[in-house]
Subunit: 168 residues, 2 copies
């Protein structure tokens, strides 16, 4: 299950590359600096696009790190251009590429905590289902929604990517 | 895994009830008809809020139905008020309450298809990871984002709900 879900997260992170292509094409057609979109937000008290994509990256990266106990690379959240965003996303995909079934062998009995939980813990399974997956998709959908709201023609297929369909 | 993920979907559907409370309170404070928000959208070529929540419901309902082969109740997509939306959401929670571990026993070897797939199939596992979960959260996040964009003070905790935290 973990491998399938992290594999899916890698695939969805890969889709962001396509969204960036569409964003850059849109900005070029409209003659504005595509990086301006990184500061856009859907509400004044929500995170801007660049922060949404940073959280998507961190949720996948730290999710894999916490449910396995494997150290994660640090990212200082300094991106100001789409090229830097691309590099951030790719580095997380590379990190996730380093996981095998063996890494998740202890997950069923592992617990996870975070500083703001004031000493409380969650089972790694609960953390994954209740926190990692919902947060990953929440921020991923917000990246998509901010782009779409601002005229970038991302579509549902660009979100889902290619499905593993085959002849019966 | 299926039981945990569908359990999580039930929990997230339950959170929508809280979002509706906040929506009605916001509309009352601003003296407008809360049902107007059901027609709002983030882009002219995206679905309106009411359709987003219908798809959240259907993705969970049909997801469970397709990976188990158990028949799902029909919903004609006629909601025009928040009370009707509440009833729709609750009926899906009730449907999901009817599943037990036994229902998912055959899922690993089941295949799934849809009319628009032109005869192709997916394994039920792939369908769940690549289609059900990403779509469920995509539309759920859009419901949230449309409300937030329109001034309803839904927050991240209203999205995630209570986490299964405990003493170490």
């Amino acid at each position: 299950m973990y491998q399938e879900f992290f594999g899916q997260m890698k695939k969805q992170l890969g889709q962001i590359d396509k969204w960036i292509d569409l964003t850059e094409a849109h900005a070029k057609a409209k003659s504005f600096d595509a990086n301006i979109l990184l500061g856009m937000r859907l509400a004044p008290d929500q995170f801007a696009l660049v922060r949404q994509v940073q959280i998507v990256c961190d949720t996948a990266k730290l999710g894999a790190s916490r449910v396995t106990g494997k150290e994660a690379p640090a990212h200082p959240d300094t991106e100001t251009t789409w090229e830097e965003v691309r590099a951030r996303v790719r580095s997380v995909i590379t990190y996730l590429d380093g996981f095998s079934a063996k890494d998740f062998e202890g997950t069923a009995t592992r617990t996870v905590t975070q500083p703001r939980w004031e000493g409380k813990v969650m089972s790694a399974n609960d953390f994954f289902v209740e926190h990692v997956v919902p947060n990953f998709y929440f921020h991923l959908a917000h990246v998509y929604a901010i782009l779409r709201h601002n005229g970038v023609s991302v579509g549902k297929r660009d979100y889902l990517g290619t499905l593993s369909q085959r002849a019966p």
